[in-house]
Symmetry: C2
Subunit: 143 residues, 2 copies
């Protein structure tokens, strides 16, 4: 009773995910930014200044994971931690001017990869892919 490494959803999933994130990382590299940092930029751009917990929630990582990302981004002068006056436990994360310019380029990278990923697929196929991936997600989430 052998375990077949080749014929498992897990393998296809891993392969696709790996190529995808590698493609984004490679395109982001020349801009001196990582995928996670780009995501922070995106959410701040989209929803304005917000809390670390909020950001971590949207990025679907644990708060401690965000600490390092923000430290590096602060060091690069992209964002700023600003203490909330009404709740001194919170930090409000703000974009700095240099980040605004960068965001346009970063968004373009993401858009390119996103477009490339579904090249040659019909609308119906894309919808189907989404449906099946969502299904896998559900199946596996609730154990």
């Amino acid at each position: 009773m052998k375990y077949d490494f080749e014929e498992s959803v897990g393998v296809w999933l891993t392969l696709a995910h790996q190529s995808y994130s590698r493609a984004i990382a490679e395109r982001l590299l020349p801009h001196g930014i990582t995928f996670r940092q780009a995501q922070v930029l995106g959410f701040l751009e989209l929803d304005g200044p917000q809390t670390q917990s909020e950001l971590a929630g949207k990025m679907m990582i644990e708060p401690p994971s965000l600490v390092g990302v923000l430290n590096r981004m602060e060091r690069s002068g992209l964002v700023e931690r600003q203490c909330c006056p009404d709740d001194r436990r919170c930090n409000s994360i703000h974009l700095l001017p240099s980040a605004e310019a960068l965001w346009q380029q970063v968004a373009e990278c993401a858009r390119q990869v996103r477009t490339a990923a579904v090249r040659g697929m019909s609308g119906a196929e894309i919808a189907q892919l989404k449906r099946l991936l969502t299904k896998v997600n559900e199946n596996v989430s609730d154990f």
Copy 2:
């Protein structure tokens, strides 16, 4: 011109992949083993003693990434690095007795998650999922 985080293949892919690997990790935890260590076990079980480069290739990680995994597995008494007599640059990685027993349980975990992932999907849908994921992989690999 906003970047839509919700409606991208990347997001669906990430979500599915995350749940999947989390599900495996959770099931493996009680056995005191990680996903990567389980993979090493699997490939050694399947193909017998082999080189670190070979292993890294099959796991699709870089050789330096494997070093730490093997160090920890050696520390746990699961595997052994054995110097190849015919080519003294290579290490031949061997399973130790305690690993043999563990493997049965680990394989069962993987099988459970793999089965759960496609629950409620027809054979045609699974084939379609594979086809689409492979397509995404190809699309994005060759830039």
